[in-house]
Symmetry: C3
Subunit: 215 residues, 3 copies
């Protein structure tokens, strides 16, 4: 049993929270979610399921960003959602599918009780220019049978940022995660600001490309 | 709640229309749909979500057509379907998935009330030869909860042809859509018919590669 | 209606069989399945929907195996499952999707009544190292409406091995399937064992790369 659009609206503030909510985005049996203008790409030549994999951030500029085939772009929804007593499901929109854009690599079914922004896995069959703020995917809701033990303390609960894979955590990766995170953009801009820039300070200025979230 | 094959048959002529319908194509909980022998490929080097993107048509010949990785092929079902009061869902067939053929880029869930032929987005992991008329995908039906406002005037309602993305319409593209559509095939055949072919007439003979549907 | 994790547990031994079953793998509305360490890749330059396509086996070694983009890897679950009166569905795990790993090319919905190991179609957006025994995908269960005629004698029923596509069977392929299957690994090891190895015996030593399953 999938909830109709009217039923999604009727359950807002109860089992369903979508924030912000916009009436125009309601479909016959789903709700459109929008693309945040920040993306994340891995920096490893070969990704490893057992290791934390380095990544860096990209901004989608006003004039759009061209996605290249063979490259994975992690993205997130602008909307924060909470779902209780229902199975939430993220699915691509037909309008973007018709341009060869995958928005996720799995079936898109989430866990009952998931709260957070949705991380999407964008990959393109052919090169395609996308823009921040477009309606990128849809959320739909399936009813659930039986006693529910909600997703509470999972690896991805309460994500408010794009969240890369944490698979390595369940595979016993225990080393301190001390990867060197180079931030060439801020290095470059620092170079321009400071003529006497010294590389010895580079170690302190690295981050994830977003100053508010240093590691 | 997904409809069983028997239940799909029981609802034919009521909530469900599949035309033509063939008893052999009924599965335990879905119905097989067949591939029309016409495909559509985009002609842009970079697709753009905000623009109408040029395309051309391909026929799948009798001996089959090899799909190349990194290329998107829009296709359609031979069957016309109507679905009322249920959520229709298109999914690939396991036999084609096992050959690395994707038939769509999203989860395949449609809207309650959708009437038309289904546009599919074929993409191949490895080169693969396909044929017109093969059973390419399946349609399944989910029950819906709550008051239903059907998909009526949507962008893709009543599609009887392969329908490329109309995403640009919701992104405020207002210019007259006057792209130059080159039709090299009919140019070539005209050349053969007319020895005194003059390039000055090329502007009038362009089309979508199908004479019955000029723009 | 999707079964909750508790409901999946409650139906074990009735409609649902998952063997082996491990309590830790139960999620709020699905169950995690694990990857067998054997893979299968096709050996054809161009796959053909109408033909049996040659393949060979790969073992995932202890140190993992790097999956290359543009290559399809058929895999299977360690677990054997049986599902009666419910629609089973295989879906990727978010942790692997976030690394750009597709585990199937279709929506993952199976047939009511399917018994066997699940064949998966692994494909990677970027190169990725995977390992045998990881929790690779999830099985979820949808309730079904109407009289059920179960999947009994289907092409893929009772699969206990990785099963390549049998699409050619429904497309009228009738020739005896006598492809030459070269087994370079055992050829090479034979060479090392026997200094007087003669190429004239090669014709007798071919197989599918697994000695216990000669053709």
């Amino acid at each position: 049993m999938i909830l109709s659009g009217e039923e999604i609206r009727a359950r807002l503030g109860k089992e369903i929270c979508i924030s912000p909510f916009c009436e125009d985005s309601l479909n016959p049996n789903s709700y459109n979610l929008t693309l945040h203008n920040e993306l994340l790409v891995y920096e490893e030549v070969v990704l490893d399921v057992k290791e934390p994999n380095r990544f860096r951030r990209l901004q989608i500029p006003e004039e759009g960003l061209i996605l290249s085939p063979g490259q994975l772009y992690l993205a997130r929804t602008v909307e924060y959602t909470e779902t209780r007593g229902l199975v939430p499901m993220i699915q691509g929109r037909s309008s973007l599918a018709r341009l060869g854009l995958f928005v996720h690599c799995d079936s898109g079914f989430g866990d009952v009780g998931f709260c957070g922004h949705w991380t999407m896995e964008l990959s393109a069959v052919q090169p395609i220019r996308i823009y921040g703020g477009i309606r990128i995917c849809q959320i739909a809701y399936h009813e659930v049978v039986g006693v529910v033990r909600e997703y509470r303390n999972g690896k991805y609960q309460h994500n408010c940022d794009i969240q890369p894979s944490l698979m390595y955590k369940e595979l016993g990766y225990t080393r301190q995660y001390e990867q060197l995170q180079l931030d060439f953009d801020s290095l470059a801009s620092s170079c321009q600001e400071q003529a006497d820039y010294s590389y010895s300070t580079a170690g302190n200025s690295v981050g994830r490309g977003r100053p508010t979230q240093t590691v």
